[in-house]
């Protein structure tokens, strides 16, 4: 492996934050491998986003402004990424560990006959050999996997793993030719946005989650949302809250939801069963608010405040806003 290629996930030209993290990581990894750093951005809005990517330390930004990427599921994006990877030669391809990133990465790996690592939180180098560190079994174990038997490796990187950093690069914009003779099979007939565009729990550096103890749907658009907003974070939920229909599955943290590694995780009215713990145990700091001092989360939270969440949370929002100088 020599070059490093970052797949830029975006919607209509608005990049996910992790995309800039990958663009930066591509540079650092390429320097270690002695190769070039590439980014691949495809779909509606790609051309404008490519200009914005010039602020990052990349050698080449490969672009295809092609409506097919948005009209058909996954395959067109994989085609473009595959074309760039094959032209670059032996390479490490970085995709975000998100729904789209895993879909694109898994298909690309199959096409390239490449090794595939998921939910990677660290990349290390042993000579020219690349090894990826990922938590497995719900964060119980940490595996380190190296690539072998292939010129390519595909790495799905957990958001918040690398810091995005602007910097000078050659930033040459290269148009990717449209692959000829393709018939795409999966049509996207309609796209429905149910929730306002907001930072997802996977990418947020602060997550405020609610569980059974919050008692209903209102706190998810009320006191929890207000606290998350004051901290610049996202709202998460336990399975109990999602199963009760209080908040959508996209917010769920845990075994059957998303795995998150924010700097700060605030668990409100969540007991902390193992199924929830595996989704958030790698958070930097965990603060829990619960009326019961004997809940399991007390065994692994950095701070458990025992009290009435309906009193504590609004008061906390007020004090956070004061501390940050935000209007009340």
């Amino acid at each position: 492996m020599r070059d490093t290629i970052a797949f830029i996930e975006h919607k209509g030209g608005a990049a996910r934050r992790v995309s800039f993290e990958l663009a930066t990581a591509a540079r650092d990894i390429a320097d270690k491998l002695g190769g070039k750093a590439h980014a691949v951005v495809v779909g509606k809005g790609a051309a404008a986003l490519a200009e914005a990517l010039k602020a990052y330390p990349l050698d080449a930004i490969h672009v295809a402004e092609d409506g097919d990427v948005d009209a058909y599921l996954i395959d067109p994006a994989v085609d473009y990424l595959e074309a760039v990877a094959k032209a670059a030669g032996p390479a490490l391809v970085l995709v975000p560990n998100t729904m789209v990133g895993r879909d694109v990465g898994s298909r690309l790996a199959a096409r390239l006959g490449a090794g595939l690592t998921a939910d990677v939180t660290e990349i290390s180098f042993d000579g020219g050999r690349v090894a990826c560190v990922s938590p497995k079994l719900g964060g119980l174990t940490i595996t380190t996997c190296a690539f072998k038997n292939s010129d390519y490796g595909v790495v799905a990187v957990r958001p918040n793993t690398f810091a995005a950093r602007e910097g000078a690069g050659a930033g040459e914009i290269v148009a990717i030719p449209k692959p000829a003779g393709k018939q795409y099979a999966i049509k996207i007939e309609d796209e429905v946005v149910e929730a306002a565009a907001e930072l997802g729990v996977e990418e947020a550096s602060i997550v405020v989650s609610g569980g059974r103890g919050v008692g209903g749907p209102d706190p998810f658009v009320g006191i929890l949302k207000d606290l998350a907003d004051s901290l610049g974070g996202a709202v998460g939920a336990s399975r109990a809250a999602v199963d009760a229909g209080w908040v959508s599955h996209g917010h769920q943290v845990g075994q059957t939801g998303k795995t998150v590694s924010p700097q700060l995780y605030i668990a409100v009215g969540i007991s902390g069963a193992i199924q929830h713990k595996v989704g958030m145990r790698t958070a930097g700091t965990i603060v829990a608010v619960n009326k019961d001092g004997g809940v399991p989360i007390g065994e692994f939270a950095d701070l458990l405040v025992v009290g009435d969440l309906f009193q504590i949370v609004p008061e906390l929002t007020k004090r956070v806003r004061e501390a940050k100088g935000l209007p009340a």
């Binding site: 599921l73 996954i74 729904m99 694109v104 990465g105 898994s106 298909r107 790996a109 199959a110 096409r111 006959g113 090794g115 595939l116 998921a118 090894a131 938590p135 497995k136 079994l137 719900g138 119980l140 174990t141 940490i142 595996t143 380190t144 996997c145 690539f147 072998k148 038997n149 799905a156 099979a185 999966i186 049509k187 996207i188 007939e189 309609d190 796209e191 149910e194 929730a195 306002a196 997802g200 599955h249 075994q255 059957t256 790698t282 700091t285 965990i286 065994e299 692994f300 939270a301 950095d302 701070l303 458990l304 405040v305 009193q311 504590i312 008061e315 906390l316 004090r319 956070v320 940050k324």
Partner: protein, 262 residues
């Protein structure tokens, strides 16, 4: 129509798992193996399609697992599937995601299918990358993260979850679909189902019956496990009583400031 549901056997999440420091492998003794919880949604989705379509629609459970996985496959049959294929071979041991997808694809081609349904991820490795790679090696459309799945004639329609909503998608069979937990509420096996499952066929399939042109198992793998370590345990932190909201909020504010998070 032939629907094949892929299922994986995983260690029970509730079990107390530990790593053997010598072999660096998971100590499996005393750890119960269960059906991957995500796969129950896939089985339920298949059964609902079968019930809707009727006729000659069948549901086959497919698992790449050791022989010892038979009893768990039988549990999947007890939910109401018609038959099962257990893809078992010493040569598959040590397969990575790539090798698993490649070998499973060849085995599924041999088994035959109109529609393959997968759970969206497993609770152990949890990469969520198998369905996509499998679709690629099967050479069929792969429609992932479905929260709704309908089949009419040869057309598959579904609602695919996104981070802030869903997409309505359609494709033609044969195809592969992966489903999320929002799609249904998996049924519990009935007593009749459990009794009936004992008589159902679990057909063995081995590598000898497939003509693979690439090495699988640990030799063919594209990744190599260098190290398996227990994650550092999180230490128990402080507990503080908050008689009222103001006290509780101030304890948290002070703590966040101490941690330089505020």
């Amino acid at each position: 129509m032939k629907i094949v549901v892929t299922v994986k056997l995983v260690p029970d999440t509730n079990a107390d798992k530990r790593i053997d420091p010598g072999t660096k492998r998971l100590v499996r003794t005393g750890v119960e193996t269960v059906l991957n919880p995500f796969d129950e949604y896939a089985i339920e989705a298949a059964l609902q399609i079968k019930e809707k379509l009727g006729g000659d629609t069948t549901v086959t459970i497919f698992s790449m697992a050791p022989e010892s996985g038979k009893e768990i496959v039988r549990k999947a049959l007890a939910m109401g599937a018609d038959e099962a294929v257990l893809f078992s071979d010493a040569g598959l041991e040590g397969s990575d995601v790539w090798g698993t997808a490649y070998a499973m694809a060849q085995a599924l081609k041999k088994t035959g299918f109109d529609l393959v349904i997968c759970g969206s991820q497993s609770t152990d490795a949890g990469t969520g990358e198998l369905p996509g790679a499998l679709a690629e090696y099967l050479g069929v459309p792969g429609v992932t993260y479905l929260r709704k799945l309908d089949v009419e004639g040869t057309t598959l329609r579904g609602e695919r979850e996104t981070d802030n909503g869903y997409q309505t998608v359609s494709t033609q069979l044969p195809a592969l679909a992966s489903v999320t937990k929002s799609i249904n509420e998996p049924r519990y096996p009935s007593l009749k189902g459990i009794m009936g499952a004992k008589k159902k066929t679990i057909a063995p399939l081995t590598l000898a019956e497939l003509a693979l042109d690439r090495a699988v198992g640990s030799d063919g793998a594209k990744t190599e496990l260098l190290e398996l370590a227990a994650a550092p345990a999180r230490a128990k932190g402080r507990t503080a009583e908050a008689p009222d909201g103001a006290t509780g909020a101030q304890i948290i504010v002070d703590f966040l400031k101490e941690k330089k998070l505020l």
